[in-house]
């Protein structure tokens, strides 16, 4: 019995099997368990646990230097975690690089804080970049979908032929969002999407994220400091402090909390206006 079992195992190595598919209809889009990140001397993340449900917008807050950026960069695979697991739609990817390349990166989009547009490419080429890489489409369809994506983020098609250096800060964020959405991802990571925008543009950007999230059924993981964004866009908020998630829940939970840092953050001077909304 055991011999035949091992024989089967050996044979199964040569069997490619069906191509792995990412099942994006699961209820939990992201599951992070006991995630730890240590740098040479610093212990930045000391066991982070949280889930992001499919179709929700999770806002991540925390003091400057609390490790939000490290968490985000670890989740998108730019930093190797010391220990712990990150599952994207049930697939643990932190160890398996091939899996990440083939499956997961096709299903997520990332908006970097400063846009990270490729400065040598036009807006059109920036938005089409992931499409060209992953999909085999005709030039006409590439152009049309790029225009549709730009329209979604509120930019006119004239912007297509501009270079990133000719764009304003708000436009850069919009183009970067269009590029993040290029492949119709299931999950979008946003790193401080409204930082550097004036309050009106920030508000518009919040609405845009909300609208797109509903239209495309996105799951959004957002790191932000903007209390207005937290109020208007996020379904749930998670708070990172001292390398751990100290609270998670909707805005009402945050406002009701008696934790001193949460109190200062959500009910401080700058929080009051938002809180009364």
């Amino acid at each position: 019995m055991s011999i035949s079992d091992s024989g089967f195992d050996i044979l199964s190595i040569f069997d490619d099997g069906p191509e792995p598919q990412l099942d994006i209809s699961q209820d939990i889009a992201l599951r992070v368990r006991n995630l730890q990140v240590k740098f040479r001397r610093q212990h930045v993340l000391k066991g982070v646990n949280f889930d992001v449900k499919r179709g929700e917008v999770l806002g991540f807050v925390g003091a400057s230097g609390a490790g939000k950026s490290v968490l985000l960069r670890t989740m998108i695979g730019l930093i190797q975690p010391t220990s712990g697991t990150i599952e994207v739609f049930g697939q643990e990817f932190s160890k398996a690089k091939e899996l990440r390349e083939q499956l997961i990166e096709r299903h997520w989009g990332i908006l970097f804080q400063h846009g990270a547009l490729f400065s040598a490419l036009t807006v059109r080429q920036n938005v089409q970049f992931p499409m060209r890489e992953y999909l085999n489409l005709s030039p006409r369809l590439l152009d049309e979908v790029a225009a549709a994506k730009l329209k979604m983020v509120g930019l006119p098609p004239e912007a297509l032929n501009k270079m990133p250096s000719e764009l304003s800060g708000g436009m850069i964020k919009r183009v970067a969002l269009a590029r993040a959405l290029a492949l119709d991802p299931a999950i979008v990571f946003l790193d401080e999407p409204t930082s550097g925008l004036d309050p009106i543009s920030a508000g518009e950007f919040d609405n845009l994220i909300r609208t797109l999230q509903r239209t495309l059924g996105l799951t959004v993981f957002m790191v932000t400091h903007d209390l207005d964004s937290l109020h208007s866009v996020c379904d749930r908020i998670a708070v990172l402090a001292d390398g751990k998630v100290i609270a998670a829940g909707p805005m009402s939970t945050m406002l009701a909390s008696e934790h001193p840092w949460l109190k200062a953050y959500f009910r401080g001077k700058r929080g009051r206006v938002g809180a009364t909304m």
Binding site: L137, D143, E144, A147, K149
Partner: protein, 379 residues
């Protein structure tokens, strides 16, 4: 899922009935586009209406929604009424959103081919050469002005920066300069001996190597190395400072970028390059002497004596006089190119390339001018 036809067509009277099914997503967009194009109506077709049944579509994303939109628009343009039935509720928003994209982009500009454009490019390049010359003169003036101001107010001079730059472009360049010039001297001597031996003129190799190295090769090799090693670094440093608005920050704080960044760098080159030239020339002569003794059988004493006979201080000075001028040329070109950098990474690359190419070119032009000058004064 994949076996099911994404789009099936049937004609009922004067109506084309299309029934869509399966995944209308990015991964299948290529097949879908083909089907949608195939379903497009020919002009003058008898069909007066198109109806798309979306009931059995399992997934729909922007790509699928756009292709549906294209199908509908195409039908309407050819004069048929088009509508969608049984669109599942969860897809309604995406279809409506895509429908709002009214203006389509022009196709990407085609590569220019006409003769006129070719001439225009030539003209642009010539204008660019003129502009480079102007910028060079401008920078020369600005640096001279900044240098003179140092005499008036010596405390404004960045002495630490100068020392640091001399360390970077001078001291740390010594090993590679010694190695390269040693090899060049050795190769020259070997080639000379190999060919002169046929005429029994071995010993004249000392004349050739001595004059060539001291007058021309030593300083040229050093300048080419410095342009590639330090000139490119200057352009990249100043260029990335420009990109990150550091230069603007300096200016708004009341500092002159020329005095703070450019002057110490150019002075460092003017001081370091003659030193490197001297070291390089000695190293080349040593290499030549070594090869002459090992390969050519010219004893070191003979080599030294022959060298004393043919080399005068003039030969040495001709080489050394050129060094600071060439250093200044390299420094100015590199700093001009750095300050010309625009926002993109591509521009930084282009400017760095231009800095190295232009400074090597100008160094050789300058060498030619010096050759004419020294010939005229019989040195």
């Amino acid at each position: 899922m994949s076996s099911e036809a994404l789009l099936a067509a049937a004609v009922v009277g004067d109506r084309l009935e299309l029934s869509a099914a399966g995944d209308w997503t990015a991964d299948r967009a290529n097949d879908l586009e083909r089907l949608v194009m195939a379903a497009a109506l020919p002009t003058q077709s008898p069909i007066k209406a198109v109806r798309v049944d979306m009931e059995r579509v399992a997934k729909l994303d922007t790509y699928g929604a756009w292709l549906l939109e294209r199908l509908l628009r195409g039908s309407r343009e050819s004069g048929a009424a088009a509508d969608v039935i049984n669109l599942p509720d969860q897809f309604r928003t995406i279809v409506e959103t895509v429908h709002q994209t009214t203006e389509l982009p022009d196709p990407e500009r085609l590569r220019r081919t006409s003769v006129l454009d070719w001439l225009a490019t030539v003209g642009e390049n010539i204008a660019e050469v003129g502009r480079s010359a102007l910028l060079f003169a401008q920078m020369l003036g600005a640096v001279t002005f900044a240098f003179l101001r140092v005499f008036w107010r010596p405390r404004t001079f960045r002495f630490t920066s100068l020392v640091n730059q001399i360390d970077l472009v001078g001291w740390r360049a010594v090993p590679i300069i010694l190695l390269i010039t040693f090899l060049i001297g050795a190769i020259l001597a070997q080639q000379g001996i190999f060919h002169f031996r046929r005429f029994g003129a071995d010993v004249f190799v000392v004349d050739m190597v001595g004059i060539l190295v001291l007058r021309e090769i030593g300083v040229l090799i050093v300048c080419v190395m410095v342009a590639g090693r330090s000139g490119s670094a200057y352009t990249a440093e100043i260029g990335s400072m420009k990109m990150r608005e550091e230069i603007d920050a300096l200016q708004t704080m009341g500092f002159d970028p020329i005095s703070v960044l450019v002057l110490p760098r150019i002075l460092a080159l003017v001081i370091a390059v003659p030193m490197l030239t001297f070291l390089g020339e000695m190293s080349a002569l040593y290499g030549a002497g070594l090869v002459a003794s090992l390969y050519g059988g010219i004893q070191p004493e003979v080599f030294m004596q022959r060298l004393r006979e043919v080399i005068s201080i003039d030969h040495f000075m001709v080489g050394m006089v050129k060094a600071p001028f060439m250093a200044m040329t390299i420094g100015i070109v590199a700093c001009v190119r750095g300050l010309e950098t625009k926002g993109s990474a591509e521009s930084l690359g282009a400017q760095t390339t231009a800095a190295v190419v232009q400074s090597i070119f100008l160094v050789i032009v300058l060498d030619g001018i010096f050759a004419v000058f020294f010939a005229a004064i019989d040195k």
